[in-house]
Symmetry: C2
Subunit: 202 residues, 2 copies
């Protein structure tokens, strides 16, 4: 059976979403058409609105429809002197959800990847360098991913910061809290050993 | 962190899709905004087009944007004299994918459910009764789901067909081909026993 063209196109467009295979796309399309037509129109409107309006914060580069995002707009965040460097807006969200960090962010929207032709300017390091020169940043916290590219990117940014005599730190990597050693991957376990801390017995 | 309103609304609208939890909705929204903006607009257009144009086939009630669906439009299907009753358009698709059945369908878009106020007319049984009276149907094949409601619906339709002296059959339920007894649920195993067939030794 050939489904009618409008249904076929809807299923194919749904497959563009991450994690949606042919079966789920079909289930989604039928559910929308059978009993969520208003929801379907709401999603269409939300997609159009977001794609047309959402751009990047001119201070930290995260996704927002405002010129300056909700975090950069808070004076107490800017005054903290802390600048955390992450690869994606999702990383910002994950860190914010801990409630632990109260400084600012800079979102690279990627990482250095010379083989893919992604150099410093492509991830906004020209903007970051200017910010480090002009703003009273006291500490740069490197929270790029613990991958080869993330580490190389962190190293490159540490260099930038050192040239401005700004202190830099790298977030700790190791065994997740509550995780069992047995199920932790080798690289993480390696990080956990090389980053081990002396226990102060005093 | 409060995400900006347009991103928040996109995440909430994506959660209307079946099987999409808060984490996947967030991942989908960020992926669209970071590197699939054209895909996002394509999905918005497909949703609008499908919701506005797709209705029900006037012969079999399945979802289609044409007055009569691609199956009902085939004379050799209509001439087969076979009419298979299913609950949803997805069931039609599943049966079509076997390539085994070459007759027509009638899609209930649900099943009888007196407790939810869903009676015969709500699942198109008035239209079906008319079709059984007026068309030369030779066999009604009941392929509703093997649930309490599906069985009750099949029973009700078998009655309708018998009043027109039309032969009826129920598709077989039992252990899936390739399935292991050990992993089959009790109800299916019960069906498999009660529907057992004599092995002809000749
Ligand atoms: Zn910002
Ligand atoms: Zn039809």
């Amino acid at each position: 059976m050939r489904l009618s063209p409008a249904i076929t196109e809807l299923i194919q467009a749904l497959r563009l979403l991450p994690g949606v295979g042919p079966k789920s796309a079909q289930r989604m399309a039928f559910q929308i058409l059978e009993r969520q037509r208003e929801g379907g129109l709401r999603l269409a409107a939300a997609l159009t609105e977001a794609v047309e309006k959402v751009g990047h914060c001119e201070v930290c580069r995260t996704l927002t429809e405002d010129a300056v995002c909700g975090i950069c707009a808070q004076p107490k965040r800017r005054d903290s002197g802390l600048l955390c460097i992450v690869e994606t807006p999702a990383d910002v969200l994950a860190i914010e959800q801990t409630g632990y960090y109260q400084g600012c962010y800079f979102v690279l929207m990627g990482h250095l990847s010379p083989l893919d032709g992604i150099g410093p300017d492509d991830i906004g390091l020209d903007i970051l360098a200017k910010r480090l020169r002009e703003e009273p940043v006291q500490e740069v916290i490197l929270a790029t991913n613990p991958t080869v590219e993330g580490e190389a990117t962190a190293h490159f940014i540490a260099d930038l910061a050192h040239r401005q005599r700004i202190a830099t730190s790298r977030i700790a990597h190791g065994v997740p809290v509550g995780g069992e050693l047995e199920y932790v991957d080798q690289a993480t376990l390696g990080h956990a050993f090389s980053g081990r801390k002396v226990i102060d017995m005093n």
